[in-house]
Amino acid sequence: MNCYLSCDNLSLKVGYQPLINLFSLNLYASQSIALIGSNGCGKTSLLKVLAGLSKPSSGKVHVLSKQLWPENQSEHENFCVFLSHIPGLLLDHNIINNLKFYTQSFGLKLPDESYLNALNRVGLKNREFQTARSLSNGQKRRLTLAALTLIKPNIILADEPTNGLDSDGISLCLNIFEQLMNSNKTALLVATHEQKIIDWCQYKINLENFSLQNKKSKKTIKALL
């Protein structure tokens, strides 16, 4: 099985404060992993490092068999779709242009019909010329899901992908993830608090086990006792 993403002994700091210590992970094709843990335990920071958006304090990251960190040897500029907790959109552009922004960022040029089909699938039919600013939070999230169906990425790093979605939206989200995993062998790493997603994922990782602050506080409590 192809290992799409791996990291060895990854440590992260926020300022001078250690956040995650010696975290290792292998993410294989068609695999889904849920990152769980309380607020501030480093889920978003970890996803940003794995997406190549920020740097870790130590450790190694490999993506699609190429090293990303400490030295970027990736032949492909990038490799994955990172869905941030706020849907990344060009707010003053219309919906169809936002979809084009998503696909063309990945070097894909698709016929207009595919964009319309994708919008139809996520329940945004006949809204293609509406500006993204006028959409509700859930609709913005649905738009990013429509983009996923068009890009068909190898890796999805999703930070709270169900934020703002209703129960139908959550089912749609899971449906799209599952379809991508089956047809495209997409690997999925999701940071979430949504129980439905946690239950659906094949593996769960509690980041609090790698949190230095947590270990220290446990030690402190033990010492006090």
């Binding site: 492909h76 990038n78 060009l90 003053d92 070097g107």
Partner: protein, 243 residues
Amino acid sequence: MFKHKNSLKINIKTWFFAFLFINKLSLHSAWVNKTSWFSVFIFAITLLIIFPFGLGIEALKRSDVQIGCYWIINQFVIITSVSRMFSAEQENNALDFLLSSKTPRSAILCGKISFTSMQILSLQIPIIFFWTIFYHVDEKTIFLLLKTIIPVTFLFNIGSSSLGALLTCITAKSLAKEILLPLLFFPLQCGILLASVSISIQVASNSLLGTFSSDAWWTILFMYPIIFTVLGILLSNILLQEQ
């Protein structure tokens, strides 16, 4: 050898397409935000009108004042354009998506530099027109002046945009970016500004600023875009990354 489905190796062709994509995207963002272009333009025209009242009509006949005013107004146009270089993408985390995509970071930076310099030029063309009217630019020297000002302005725009792109990325994460950007930008931009003013003055009054020769000023004017664009390409991975 491991192969993945959406393989897209970076070569000159893909880099150039990404560069064009960023330009197209920025043009579209500028088009949907036409009001900001018009507000900068109206602001520049207001300055053009206000300066003659402060300087007096006599002063306006002196070529050094005419040229100086033109470049001061350019400075306002440039800082307002440079500070909004990434605003459309930064507003709602779209930049994070773009940075994690297959678009090369150097293409993002170069695309932004080229688009910003073109955007500034689109403001300068009508400004030059109004400037020749409001500042009584001599009919005999107007063509000579335009012949020099157009290439100087072009180089000045690229130089200032490339420097601005670098500093915008550096100051992007700072809480005081609105102050920090001009604070770093203006002192570093001094060289290209003085070169542009000096070369323009030479056409109008046949004198140069300081003891530098005309060639020295032209060298400065050419070196700024080259140095800062190359620096931007080399440092694009670091500049467009969270620390």
